[in-house]
Amino acid sequence: MSAGPRYTLYHPRWYRRRVSVWWWLQNRSYTGFVLRELTSVFVAFFAMVSLWQLRALAQGPETYGRFLARLGTPLFLALDTIAFLSVLFHAITWFNLTPKAIVLRVGGKRVPDWVIVGSNYAAWLVLSGAVAVVLLRG
């Protein structure tokens, strides 16, 4: 909280504080929220790299080799590490929030939160397992 007061029309003596630009440092959950929002930048980065990979793959083995070499540079290793951590944080925090948005009723009773969160994690595990099987076989 900072800056001067704002005044309300017809009530010039009412006191109104402006919100500081540092509001998100005021408490831990605000900071967590802003971090969760920021992770989307790295989610986008990850998506771009994946598209770039597809393009390189389509252009033949030579281009793909150069793409892989570039991924091995320290800059990309660092960026990928940050992106990986961000995507993890993004996925976990959003998964944990799903019961707020999804309310399922079975036989008139609300499905408990842990079932909704759990099914997200289960789907994540199954899909990751499927991807791992495809990759390791090939």
Binding site: R13, W14, S29
Partner: protein, 247 residues
């Protein structure tokens, strides 16, 4: 256990000062006292000029919401013993204009609440002779949680989006709109959607989630808003695919 505790209270006397200041009172500590008891002690024994709102002192009326050590709280349900050894800082709720000391103005909220039509809307009333509108316990259960809101404004004070965008309809008003949308007797969902899917409605919310954390009645306004976003989005897709079927 201490015999006294320091209570630091925000004062704003518009005829004397241009911005709020703090004043500290040394009050007796009693383990059965809540912050509101301490304020009443100040008002009765130490300084009669202190202004604040309260009424029921049992978490029903929703008038004694203030910030205690930075967190929005109902002061009638916040024990002094949680904040030992003190000092305990009491401030008016954030983001509302301060009228005096701990009293804030809520006109803006009342205007928004009225906008979302928090009452049962019927397209057609059934004749009195047919009796009352019946509801099963399961149907009641779908909205009961949202109906427990006491308009204490803690959720607005916890919402940084409301602070940054004062035109945002806000958590409590949207939860109360959802209370009527989910009611099996209500037929006004389409009317409310028009208001709530506009710029100042549900899409302003970025799901910080603090409104739900501070709610003393476990209304879960953040949940109400996210569920409403789902409804809003499906209605939008439907209107895109079936433009002739406007609901």
């Amino acid at each position: 256990m201490p015999s006294t505790v320091a209570l630091t209270v925000a004062r704003y006397r518009p005829e004397q000062e241009s911005e709020p200041t703090f004043q500290t009172y040394e009050i007796p500590f009693r383990k059965d006292w809540v912050v509101l008891d301490a304020l009443n002690h100040v008002k009765d024994q130490l300084d009669g000029s202190l202004s604040y709102r309260w009424s029921c002192r049992m978490g029903v009326c929703g008038s004694c919401g203030m910030k205690v050590n930075g967190t929005p709280k109902l002061t009638c349900a916040t024990f002094l013993s949680e904040y030992l050894p003190g000092p305990i800082r009491v401030e008016p709720l954030d983001y509302f204009p301060v009228v005096r000391d701990l009293v804030v103005d809520l006109t803006e909220f009342v205007r928004k609440l009225k906008q979302v039509k928090p009452w049962i809307i019927r397209q057609e009333e059934k004749p009195l002779g047919e009796g009352e509108y019946l509801q099963t316990p399961d149907q009641l259960d779908t909205y009961k949680q949202f109906s427990l809101c006491i308009n204490c404004m803690l959720c607005y004070s916890a919402c940084p989006i409301y602070g940054l965008e004062p035109s945002f309809i806000g958590p409590a008003a949207i939860a109360l709109a959802q209370r009527y949308n989910m009611d099996s007797r209500d037929q006004g969902a389409a009317e409310r959607l028009k208001i709530l899917s506009e710029r100042d409605g549900i899409w302003q919310c970025t799901f910080v989630g603090e409104c739900t954390k501070v709610c003393p009645k476990h209304v879960d306004p953040a949940g109400a808003i996210q569920q409403y976003k789902f409804t809003g989005a499906t209605q939008w897709v439907r209107s895109l695919l079936l433009p002739w079927r406007t609901r």
